[in-house]
Amino acid sequence: MLTKRKTAGEALFDGFNILGMLAICFITLYPIWYVLVNSFNDGQDAMRGGIYWWPRAFSMDNYVEVFKNPGIMTAMGVTVAKTLVGTAAHVFFTAMVAYAFSQRELIGRNIYLLMGTFTLFFSGGLIPFYLLIRDLGMLDNFMVYIIPFLFSFFDLIIFMSFFREIPGALKEAAKIDGANDFSIFTRVIIPVSMPVIATISLFHGVWQWNDYFVGMIYINNMDLQPIQTFLFRVVAQSSSSQIVAAAGGGVDRTVTSQSIKLATMVVTTAPIVFAYPFLQKYFVKGLMIGSVKG
């Protein structure tokens, strides 16, 4: 009797729990779905509203306009370039420094680590950083996406905790063969550190892909702005002139600045959404390593 009543209660709990979770999934996915269906709808028709579940007048025109728009394509190119170059450089540089910092025999190790730890708690702030970038001649320069973000002490901590687990015998064997520390790092350490490299690449890559701030404050040349900065100017400053100019030029009048905006948002987000299920195991693991270190 008692067991039976308890199972009924348990079943009720489970039922409500599953319903609640399904509701959360719906709330999470629906706004994204809404953008998707509206972006595949005829722009003029979409202005009437009421497209909630499926395109009413299916059209690829918005996407055709996006891929024909030289401004959007240039910005996409900048984003792809800075994500690839920036991520590769950041991961290699930070991992290299982390490997050196993780060697106990390194003279000055404690000073170096203290110097890094302090940066986690205090920074000069936006204005002195801006003035530094200006003095380094990196305004309106592609390198502003790469060099100021080559290194992160937080990522270094994650790398170090991974490197600690690598058996010392690997390194010793290479040393006996006459390898120097740099080639030990590139030929021995990097190949066995792929999980942590994948994790940091993912975090930094997503940041590079999504960031609009660097492109907004350090770049004035429109040909050097990334797609997120381009979209920021369209979304936040409502300066749809770039998009309207492109849309107005064509014979096709069914697209609107709103419908092109939605299509651009989808094109901008698609690579992340497609890549993300495959990378999921890495970021969960990476977050764990990071959290263990605090």
Binding site: K6, F13, D14, N17, G20, M21, I24, T28, L29, P31, I32, Y34, V35, G49, Y52, F93, M96, V97, A100, F101, Q103, E105, L106, I107, R109, Y112, M115, G116, T119, F122, S123, G124, G125, L126, I127, P128, L131, L132, F151, L156, D181, F182, F185, W209, N210, Y212, F213, I217, Q228, F232, V235, A236, K261, M265, T268, I272, V273, Q280, V284, S291
Partner: protein, 322 residues
């Protein structure tokens, strides 16, 4: 005898010091590759972390773009006083702390609650599916989310359509043009974006709870809510504490990316926060020294808050960051 002894000592000291230096140099040379690798990182930190830290001295000077930092005249605490006298100060502080505190009260516990219920799901596959979906918004940029929000909250947007259809409002409302809605929009969209992601850490901590505790409590007749409250929650107390310390020390940080996307001239009275204020007075209006002073006040208060939160939680439950 005495003279002899002192001679010996003075002879030995330089010798051993010289030996030490020589040994150190030798050691340094043998690890020269390692040192180059390390020093490249140190040089980067010096340039991109420590030069800007030195750069905060312009907060005490009257810096202008045509002169170098060294040439700029000292003005002491003038910029700090100017900030305290600024008409915008009360609203900047109210917006920053208001949004942060509501985020702390609502946004901080929600991922814990979400993780607790996720942890109770019996089907592992369903649990994983929900998690996968819930992380997704974390990977969208604030620009994209801003685009979604401006579409949804527009006069002809879905929110107005639904509310009109339900008869809750008589005329469409321009939500982003009215200051009174701004905080709610910021907080709700932040929760939407980060709920699943913030729950990861708690779920990982929950995975470490021994199943025997749950079995024992089942025999004692504990229900699901009792297990969540008396077993799961106390087991992740340490994780909660550490994240709480970090959250408290961040109350002066607004989500800059988010607010910059959503703010406009019409909602300014509710959206102007410290970070935006520093950005706009500093970079947009060129008051470099003044904006640096405001930023410095913020950094120092944040550091103090971190230390206070750390020592308070250490006393209360023994967990702390350092």
């Amino acid at each position: 005898m005495r003279a002899n002894l002192s001679y010996d000592v003075s002879e030995m000291r330089p010798m051993s010091r010289k030996d030490k230096i020589l040994k150190l140099l030798k050691q340094f040379y043998s690890q020269r590759y390692l040192q180059v690798m390390a020093l490249l990182g140190v040089a980067w930190m010096f340039i991109f972390n420590y030069i800007p830290m030195y750069g905060v001295i312009i907060a005490f000077k009257e810096f202008s773009i045509i002169r170098s930092v060294a040439e700029a005249p000292w003005v002491g605490l003038d910029h700090f006083r100017a900030f305290l006298d600024d008409d915008e100060l009360p609203s900047v502080i109210r917006n920053t702390l208001g949004m942060s505190l509501i985020k702390l009260v609502i946004g901080f516990p929600l991922p814990i609650v979400f993780a607790l219920f996720l942890n109770e799901l019996r089907s592992l596959r369903f649990k994983r599916a929900v998690q996968t979906v819930s992380y997704l918004p974390h990977f969208l940029s604030w620009v994209i989310l801003g685009g979604i929000l401006t579409t949804w909250l527009a006069d002809v947007g879905i929110i107005n359509k639904v509310l009109l259809a339900l008869g809750w409002i008589d005329a469409p409302i321009s939500y982003l043009a009215e200051p009174q809605y701004f905080w709610s929009i910021v907080i709700a969209s932040d929760i939407w974006k980060e709920l699943g992601w913030s729950a990861i850490i708690y779920l990982a901590a929950m995975a470490g709870v021994s199943p025997e505790m749950y079995e024992a409590s089942t025999i004692d007749g504990a229900g699901r809510f009792q297990k969540m409250w008396y077993i799961t929650l106390p087991s992740i107390k340490g994780t909660i504490t550490i994240l709480f310390i970090l959250a408290v020390s961040g109350v002066l940080n607004s989500n800059f990316d988010q607010i910059l996307v959503l703010k406009n001239q019409l909602n300014e009275s509710a959206s102007n926060v410290i970070d935006v204020y520093v950005y706009e007075t500093g970079l947009a209006s060129g008051r470099y020294s003044y904006a640096t002073a405001v930023g410095l006040i913020k950094s120092i208060i944040a550091l103090i808050l971190l230390l206070i939160a750390n020592s308070v939680t250490k006393k209360i439950n023994g967990h702390s960051l350092f």
